[in-house]
């Protein structure tokens, strides 16, 4: 987009860039993992109807995501 873009377009682009940086940034694996976690827990609650598994799985999946993203950070330096 050139510098001659209209103010609304520039504002919209800036708004989109802010949310992209805020929610994805340099750790897309966290965003993807959270979406997968929400889907998995929704299945456990609404399809399997096992509440105990849901409240154990939710924090456990968060921890597994941390393990993966920290391992990735360590590998890439």
């Amino acid at each position: 987009m050139s510098d001659t873009a209209s103010l609304p377009v520039r504002l919209l682009k800036g708004f989109g860039r802010f949310w992209w940086d805020f929610l994805v940034g340099d750790t897309p694996e966290i965003t993807v993992a959270v979406i997968v976690i929400v889907g998995a827990v929704a299945l456990v609650v609404h399809v399997m109807r096992v509440n105990a598994l849901a409240y154990v799985a939710l924090p456990l999946l968060v921890i597994i995501t941390f393990a993966v993203t920290l391992y990735r950070a360590r590998k890439t330096g």
């Binding site: 805020f22 940034g25 920290l70 360590r74």
Partner: protein
Amino acid sequence: MIATLSSSTSVVVLVGAVFLASAVEMVEALTIVLAVGHVRGWRSALQGVAVAILALGALVGAFGPALVHVPLSTLRLVVGIVLLIFGMQWLRKAMLRSSGLKAKHDEDAIYRETVAELQAQGAPVGRDPVAFVVAFKGVFLEGLEIVITVLTLGTSAHRLGLAVIVAAIAVVLVGIVGVIVAQQLSSVPENAMKMVVGIMLVSYGTFWTGEGLHVRWPGGDTTLLVLVVFYAVVAAAFIRVLRMTHHVAQEPAHE
């Protein structure tokens, strides 16, 4: 009795998370404003700050009351997801910094870099658009993160007023202390604060994502405190493992 304890736990975590998150962002904004004020003069810098504060206030005024009308379970699910992503990013960075895998956020270095960039722009004549824009952007972007934290935590807990007051106190306190100590913002234990905020945001994110999905937490709101302790212990364990593996990787191989 149990309901009172649950409510108090929720309020303490809310106040702690909003206060620390607002203080951390304020330190970052203040570093930029101090650099702009010292190099380019205070008039345009403070005008930039004032316009940014007005814009942030308008955002809270526009979105705060609107969010109250969103159904609670939908609001908590969306807020839970946002807090989970945002909190995990914060906590990940804080763990990497604590373990030595990532350089710590250095306010002195940021101050020096901002000063160098501003000096390269040449001496200001009359009104200074550079000072205005840099101060505005610094305050608006850091302030936007405070606004998101206040709106998400405040509306989901049905305590938006309390969240706004706590954030305002944090911002004013950091502002006063920052102006008094000026260029010594690097002495603020920013990474430790970010670690605590990250743990609280991830705990809130987990709790509200569960609530939004209709998970029934054992112990109701007190589960929030259990989650805070759980994630604090796990974060400490991750840091320990990262430090150990980092040192092993750095040691030279012996024959």
